[in-house]
Symmetry: C2
DNA sequence: TTCCTTTGCTACATTTATCGTAGCAATACG
DNA sequence: CGTATTGCTACGATAAATGTAGCAAAGGAA
């Protein structure tokens, strides 16, 4: 019931050095990855609720990102269903929290 | 000598709400976007040096990201050539700095 | 001038990623 | 049984990224 691309054979894509920061930047630089983490900050969401939160992004990509982020240890699938951040994932999101304030100021400057 | 896609007609892609944070997450969630900002942190780089720093990514995408990040006001093309962060871009990078430490710890936990 | 190098940037064909719609199996309720 | 959820997948169409090659402009030498 799973495809679950082999994380050993799958190349890192865009980061041939293997340096952790590059691997991370590459992983987070995929479509919807940052957004997914962002949407899970407040509370766990079911796959379908997450899809709604992400502007009805196609389930194909969402599922792909979900699998990747799960393999990375940032999110997990709860027992009663629904995706949530792991402690590690929560740490990661803390790093991006200031981004919100930045985005607001940035938007202001653009329309200045 | 430029194409410079019209930033008024181009849709936001993946963020139909228009909320600044979503626009930002979408912009940064494109291939090589985060990496480019990261590589420019230390010092300005020429387009070719940047390409080398980014594992020889294709100049097509790099040029696309460069244009987008420039329109966003995060980077700029210096007079004597070479791309560098704007003050705003530097602020943005400050947000991602802690990511480096996180990446190291993350890599450690993965191979635990 | 001519030659050589480097700059930012582009063309084009191929490959990969994502989209959008539909639907599956499993589970749970009635 | 039906009906509604859950996570997840198939598949054809479209958009994005790759890899190789090359352009025009600018700056040195000679």
């Amino acid at each position: 019931m799973a495809k679950q691309a082999d994380s050993k054979t799958r190349s890192v894509r865009g980061s041939r050095t293997g340096r952790p920061i590059m691997v991370l930047l590459d992983l987070l630089g995929r479509r919807w990855a940052l957004r997914i983490l962002w949407e899970l900050q407040d509370a766990p969401l079911t796959s379908r609720a997450l899809r709604s939160a992400c502007d009805e992004a196609s389930p194909t990509v969402l599922q792909a990102r979900l699998t990747e982020l799960r393999e990375a240890g940032f999110i997990e699938l709860g027992e009663g269903g629904g995706y949530g951040l792991t402690p590690l994932g929560r740490e990661l999101c803390q790093t991006f929290m200031p981004l919100h304030r930045f985005a607001e100021r940035w938007h202001g400057k653009k329309n200045a």
